[in-house]
């Protein structure tokens, strides 16, 4: 724009580099997750311990986030709920990614399989997520396992679509065609050339799935189809809070959800940074 003079660039800001940002947020998230897991170990049975002389007390120095109707410490229960959400989310996201990867790979093997897989994707995408989750949790009879399976089975289609498109493009890549022309089998091409290429996509995909998985787990539990009410899951805490809303016991409703929001936000940021960096 300014003719003649070389344009003056702003000094390079190393914190704006995507890789560094990703590494930083990975570090912080790992630290927080490790803290969360360690806290479960340190807490013991604090989330279930009842104090009948301190029921429904508002947040104070003694009771950091207040207590619930049975005098259980809300901060301990919230931490336990977040840890529970983390494990359920991890397992569900991992399973979901595996399903997406295997179905996308299956779809590239023959065009008939491809039609079948894309029909399955269309079918799952046409039912609202939550309805499908309720149907699957209903079919499996509820409980932790049912939630993990339900979330895993419903969340793979969007990732499978991305992987499938990537695979279709890759099939036309010169090195793949050469490999095929040299007589290598489809299976060899798939796991020797294509899968290594897809791994970063899978990693980012799994991380992107994770926040959704956590949110849907909490929602399903909140509605009464998920984890059992005896477990201190975030959904259970909030469903409990619903009964005390009109009494003005605001801390019961606010803090567990805030914890969940912060956790989801952290992972959302991490996956965005990683996607940009990779």
């Amino acid at each position: 724009m300014n003719s003649g003079q070389p344009p003056s660039y702003p000094p390079p800001n190393i914190y704006s580099q995507p890789r560094l940002r990703a590494a930083l947020s990975l570090f912080v998230t790992t630290l927080l997750v490790m803290g969360l897991i360690a806290s479960q170990w340190l807490l013991g049975d604090a989330p279930q311990q009842m104090q009948f002389d301190a029921r429904l007390t508002p947040p104070s120095v003694d009771h950091w986030l207040g207590t619930d109707a049975l005098g259980r410490e809300l901060w301990a229960r919230t931490l336990a709920g977040l840890a529970l959400s983390f494990w359920v989310g991890c397992l569900a996201a991992l399973l979901s990614t595996l399903i997406a990867l295997s179905l996308a790979a299956l779809a590239t093997l023959s065009s008939r399989l491809d039609t079948l897989v894309s029909l399955l994707i269309d079918t799952l995408l046409s039912v609202p997520h939550l309805i499908l989750l309720i149907l699957i949790a209903f079919a499996l009879g509820g409980g932790t396992q049912a939630v993990i399976i339900a979330v895993a089975v419903t969340h793979w289609p969007s990732l499978a679509r991305v992987l499938r498109a990537e695979l279709w493009q890759l099939r036309q890549a010169p090195y793949v065609r050469i490999s095929r022309a040299l007589g290598k089998s489809r299976w060899f091409v798939l796991h020797g050339h294509l899968l290594p290429h897809l791994l970063p996509h899978c990693l980012v995909g799994a991380l992107l799935l994770f926040p959704h998985a956590i949110l849907h787990e909490a929602a399903l539990t909140f509605l009464g189809f998920g984890l059992s009410p005896s477990q201190p899951a975030i959904g259970v805490l909030l469903a409990d809070a619903m009964r005390y809303l009109s009494g003005g016991y605001w801390w019961l409703g606010v803090f567990p959800g805030l914890g969940l929001l912060l956790m989801v936000l952290g992972f959302e940021r991490l996956s965005n940074h990683l996607r940009r960096a990779l």
Partner: protein, 330 residues
Amino acid sequence: MALGMQLIPRIARRLSRLTLVLLCVALVSFGLMMASPVDPVDAYLGPQMAQVSPEQRALIAERWGFDAPPAVQFGHWLRQLVSGDLGWSHVYNQPVSEVIGQRFQRSIMLLGSAWLLAALLGFSLGVAAGAKEGSTLDNLISTYAYITASTPAFWLAIVAVLLFSVTLGWAPTCCAGPTGVLNQDVTLASRLHHLLLPVITLALLGIANITLHTRARMLELMRSEVATHAFAQGASRFDIAWRHGLRHASLPAITLAFASLGELFGGSILIEQVFAYPGLGQATVAAGLRSDIPLLLGIALFTALFVSVGNMIADSLYSAIDPRMTSGGL
């Protein structure tokens, strides 16, 4: 004329695809119901289970065809479905089609207004944010969008009830009308008053997606040659956003709005539950918790139709307005 000739096979193809997908949804959801540990006869009898002898139970099962193999039952159910009979809901003691019809009438007010509000607000925020990347306004709007994208829907509803209904007392805490008043006596003003908070909560959640998408589109435009050319002619950012941006970004926003009907419906289930709003979402939860299999199947099919039609509109809009999309087939 030529357009019409092209249009008919395309519509026919889409409709046949829709039928196929709905058939698959029916198959999958029926399969899930068959796999569930809930016994339909027990669910129907409820607490009267103890008063019924095993012989009578077997008789009921035979009468309803539960002793037949699953494939035969599926065929039977499908035949009834085609003739318009969705079965009987034991939770509401009404035919399933009536339950869905009545409940959907209430839900559509919630869904429709939240959808419109989310689309309009989300689009305007996206255009405002994307007009100048990195500005204070952009940072504010993007942060807001990122945060709402990670907010649990039901938690936001709980906080809204706490703040506006319990603490401030501006809005009612529950239901679609005041308690103790007959449904037909509820005034329009009261209805709207009860609808206000759920609509705003549902809309707030839907905004994020559209905002972020529109913003990305606007950023793309601001870096394009079109914008450079306009800048060179002395146009301001506002001019470009107004003249080019609106048209450039509106199509993806509309498409996204139609494609996100499923998410909207999912959000409405949670929000109806928190606000005790007697719509289709609440009926879904009741059907699931109380093992009302015909109602659950009916709702699954109905929402699948709702979402598929939304997706179809989104696809058609895209190919109708952007001719580059047409060559790709369906």
